[in-house]
Point group: C2
Chain length 341, copies 2
Amino acid sequence: MAVTIYDIAEKAGVGIGTVSRALNNSPHISLRTKEKVQAVITELGYQPHAMARGLAKQKTYTFAVIVPVFTGYFFMEVLRGVQQEVTKAHYDMILYSVDHSDKTDLFLKKVTREKRVDGALLISLGISDVQASACTRLRFPIVLVDSTHPSLDSITVQNRQGAERATSHLISLGHTKIGMIDAQLKSSPAQVRLEGYRDALKKHGLPLDEKYLIISDQIAGQHGFNRESGYLAMKQLLQLGSERPTAVFVSSDIQAAGAVRAISEEGLTIPEDVSLIGFDDIEIAEYLELTTMRQPMFQLGQLGVRRLLERIANPDLERFHRSFDTELVIRQSCGIVTSTN
Amino acid sequence: MAVTIYDIAEKAGVGIGTVSRALNNSPHISLRTKEKVQAVITELGYQPHAMARGLAKQKTYTFAVIVPVFTGYFFMEVLRGVQQEVTKAHYDMILYSVDHSDKTDLFLKKVTREKRVDGALLISLGISDVQASACTRLRFPIVLVDSTHPSLDSITVQNRQGAERATSHLISLGHTKIGMIDAQLKSSPAQVRLEGYRDALKKHGLPLDEKYLIISDQIAGQHGFNRESGYLAMKQLLQLGSERPTAVFVSSDIQAAGAVRAISEEGLTIPEDVSLIGFDDIEIAEYLELTTMRQPMFQLGQLGVRRLLERIANPDLERFHRSFDTELVIRQSCGIVTSTN
DNA sequence: ACCATATTTGGAAGCCCTTCCAAAATTTGC
DNA sequence: GCAAATTTTGGAAGGGCTTCCAAATATGGT
């Protein structure tokens, strides 16, 4: 058996309550005994039993981070931000990865009842109204990152405005035949970015040509935010021949990576034949010389944790919503339309 | 208060022991009562309290995964493999990230005493002899991935052989002035890859020229496996002017990415002016057309978890060591030396 | 020196489960 | 139909901690 609070109490010649007080640096203990107890604690290499403490305190100093199967730089960056704050706050994080977005609710149901965690951070995953209200009813602290729900805290990116600016950027370079490659609309960022694309076209009096809008196929519940689907979508766009768009706004850099490949396979060049603008600014965007809209991924994770900790500390906080600006990062993938076009 | 086992017992008209038996599908319960109890459980939406269960059972169905601050595709891939198996096994994973490799022992010390987890997976992190023997003494299940210790289970990659093959590949293309960019030697893969490099030179009767061997600077406790350090190292190599190596083996793709930049900044081209071979086969290697040694990252994670679960189930297992082969992935970054060279 | 306050202390009760033992219910054998 | 063997059941004890209350000790005022 490992060393317990009773061993410490006995060896230090105090009661177990006193040991507990020394441990939790309670104000109701004299400095002298506290130091005496702490000496014994280090001597025996004692460490409180996390489960016992969690049970007694009804608090686990742990929270759940629920992410879609994390493939991709985006989640990695968000998680880095999460990690940094988690460590700072001396919390632990349990990582759950959801292989199909429909299962999000199941995970949440488990997590909210099991009392293994003090709260949850939901990343890029939607939540049903039923679960959302269950969370508020149970006063279970939860923060959405890169996703929203009217009745919950959320931290997002200005997807609509970002998409609008991306598209407008292409327009400002003289493009009029502007395509969009989007992911499945059941993904909220995909949905909202499409709106931004529409906004921009409308604002500049350009028609929305349905054949220029390609929705990536869903692969393995992943909403199409992947290279393969971007590749396929771009192939489709290029089949339009001379009718093809001169510029394309792609809803994620990873899809744009696939698009780049499709374009070069057709013997075309970027940006001469087709301009490309992405979204995210992931690592490979730099290699691809891809112009893109940068999302503050690290900060999303960071702020998510901070907010969650605040809400854990005080569950009665006002609803909170923060939306980060995106930033246009100009590289080499967008060209100006010359009169010869 | 949430619904407990007592609520279930009362509503089902049975004792608490019976509810527990229904929950853990014990053989000592009749089918009839079991179903009756389960009906009540679903009706009330009961979920066992994880902490209480953990305390009573002395088993948490959770383990720790300890990684260096995970920046980079390598860890992401390993983690994906880990996740997949963890989910399959209905375990939870707590992710700890160590910002400085010296702190590994601290984390382990905490984790082994706290009883929050049933075991730990250590990824790309070394362990001291003291901690290693503490783990065996406490019979704490632990598996090392991408790192080794004589007295613990480990899963690695044949770094030495891989590095030897990478270097030999360059030699077979006719190169004789072959440099190496390595990370800090306190990182075991870095150390071992250097040995492989030496093996290859020796085998082919080539001299080891110290000026061709650059050890990346350590940045933020990260052993130099990053782009910046690769960039700097390559700059240094290129300053040798006409004396510069015609080919370089870089100990990781991410460093190679930095090296690529350094080379192009000098107005040189790959592979005409300098050939490059990396290690890992991370995502951007494809974009860089980088020839490299592929590591089975996903499988490392997968097998790590499997082994850990086996050891948790049976702590008396024989020591285990598995080393994966690397695979040469040939792309465009290595050229043949022509007679004009 | 003595009482009133304030501080510190010990340990019982409780957090929610599992496990074990003894008791109750059921089945089996004849 | 009855005793013996077997299966099923209830619930006390225990896992390691925190918290609370009452008791003990210390402090201060006069």
